[in-house]
Subunit: 294 residues, 2 copies
């Protein structure tokens, strides 16, 4: 096939670099950014960034300096921890013009919490994880604080997270659960992969997910996912309460409310797609259609 050795060598080196980005340092820097974003508001010390990323200290530091120059990361002068910077916040607001899920969902969340008196959540997928984008407090005096805004858990851990997973095709589910296996076993004793698969089957059967206090005992949750018009999973709405408020009869009731709001979200998203019509802020909105990541 190869006409000469030169060509073979070129293609060989190229093949060996298959999957190589051609932008190693940028990829690394952005991985650091995601790593820092994953962490609760306290920020991360350099060592943890080094161990968490697998990079070595000078490299991590150099990339962090670049991120800081851009304002995406800040270093607290006292603790020297690295955390997300103001520019990340501003960029997020700018990105919200297209990806305004939160804004779209706020009305649903408020209504869910008002009607049920329980705390409601909006969660989205982020790789093999699930991020809680908003927590809307309920009024019932006994509340669970197992899930806070910004918290991230592997897909399948928690009601909203499980709903997202259950909405994905089987091969994705397999890939994701496998990828998370190590983390699940190490950090989530209540969530053995087999258990997640069982919960997931149940969720699909019922049409809504239930987390019977597996993360924090007595802290139950119920969730349902919603999709973009093209079928991609967009996010999940969920409710959390103590076990006594989550018995079978009430589960059905709550699931009904969730279903209503899921329908609303899918209607709004559909509206955004036709004609790129007015979405939030009186601006044309046009959610990108292609799937993310390879």
């Amino acid at each position: 096939m190869w006409t000469n050795l030169e060509e073979a060598r070129v293609v060989a080196t190229h093949a060996s670099r298959a999957g190589m980005s051609g932008s190693q340092s940028v990829d690394r820097a952005l991985r650091l950014l995601a790593l820092i974003g994953r962490e609760p508001a306290g920020g991360l010390p350099l060592v943890e960034i080094v161990t968490g990323s697998g990079l070595n200290k000078p490299t991590a530091r150099r990339l962090l300096l670049a991120l800081m120059r851009a304002g995406l990361v800040e270093q607290e002068p006292k603790s020297r921890h690295y955390c997300l910077g103001e520019e990340a916040f501003v960029l997020g607001v700018l990105a919200a013009r297209r990806h305004g899920l939160l804004e779209l969902a706020m009305e649903s969340l408020r209504r869910l919490s008002a009607v049920t008196m329980d705390t409601s959540f909006l969660s989205v997928r982020r790789d093999n994880y699930c991020v809680c984008l908003h927590r809307e407090e309920g009024t019932y005096p006994v509340r669970t604080h197992a899930l806070q805004m910004g918290d991230q858990h592997p897909l399948g851990v928690g009601a909203g997270s499980l709903a997202l997973l259950a909405a994905l095709p089987d091969d994705d589910v397999d890939r994701i659960v496998t990828a998370n296996e190590a983390v699940l076993l190490a950090q989530y004793p209540g969530f053995a992969p087999a258990l997640i698969r069982a919960d997931l089957a149940l969720a699909r059967e019922r049409g809504f997910s239930v987390n019977p206090g597996r993360l924090v005992s007595s802290s139950w949750g119920i969730g349902a996912a919603f999709r973009y018009p093209d079928g991609r999973v967009a996010g999940a709405l969920s409710l959390a309460a103590i076990d006594s408020r989550m018995q079978p009869a009430r589960q059905e009731e709550l699931a009904g409310h969730l279903a209503q709001e899921v329908a609303r979200m899918e209607r709004l998203l559909a509206e955004m797609f036709v004609s790129g019509g007015k979405g939030m802020g009186g601006r044309p909105v046009n959610v990108a259609l292609e799937a993310r990541r390879a």
Copy 2:
């Protein structure tokens, strides 16, 4: 940073060790990210990114691919324009745990718009520019749409923007106006640098800024900046209306409302600093103190 390649090359080979970042490609990639964020929701075609950044096509494309791999940028399949991705939105929400200005300001904006019937805005500084983070509609039937959420103008262009500029020390003002001079002359015919300086002096004297329809005629604005407890400028609140609703007497009235909300914002920011107490989301919040960018 470099306006053209000649200059970049000269400096690279010449001052080889002095002040070089050590992460050229990361810096470049993040500059592209900011460039894309600057653009209204429609996104940017590759050529504009190439010309706008001064990079060449393969380089720009390679960096964009890296940004896309991280989800920070997406490419619309149809127009092939590049725009901010979902990950940027999610990161923004995560960053909001620390930089929750918008959340903090929402109540003020709602009250301003309710009381005055006019549209109100939250703006923050971004380098030499000013970004509008939120637009809260007023109820008065005749409204100006000169400023939309996400819009960016040089500091000094518009009421909120001018308020931010006026709140900065003189040497910063000089540096910023000088840096923006070319853009102002080319794209903002109503805002000659000298005029901005005059408006600014007036704003400082009065305690609030006024834009007498310089961007869009008959579209007036009035603004006031607020600060972090350490003195750094945090943002600006502003109001917009048609000229007939912005005569001197009403200016004073509106300025009074603004002053009240500025006081509220500064009180809330001060509370965040003592003890890193509970801020938004029931989480300890701790706004970083150090200034951004060198």
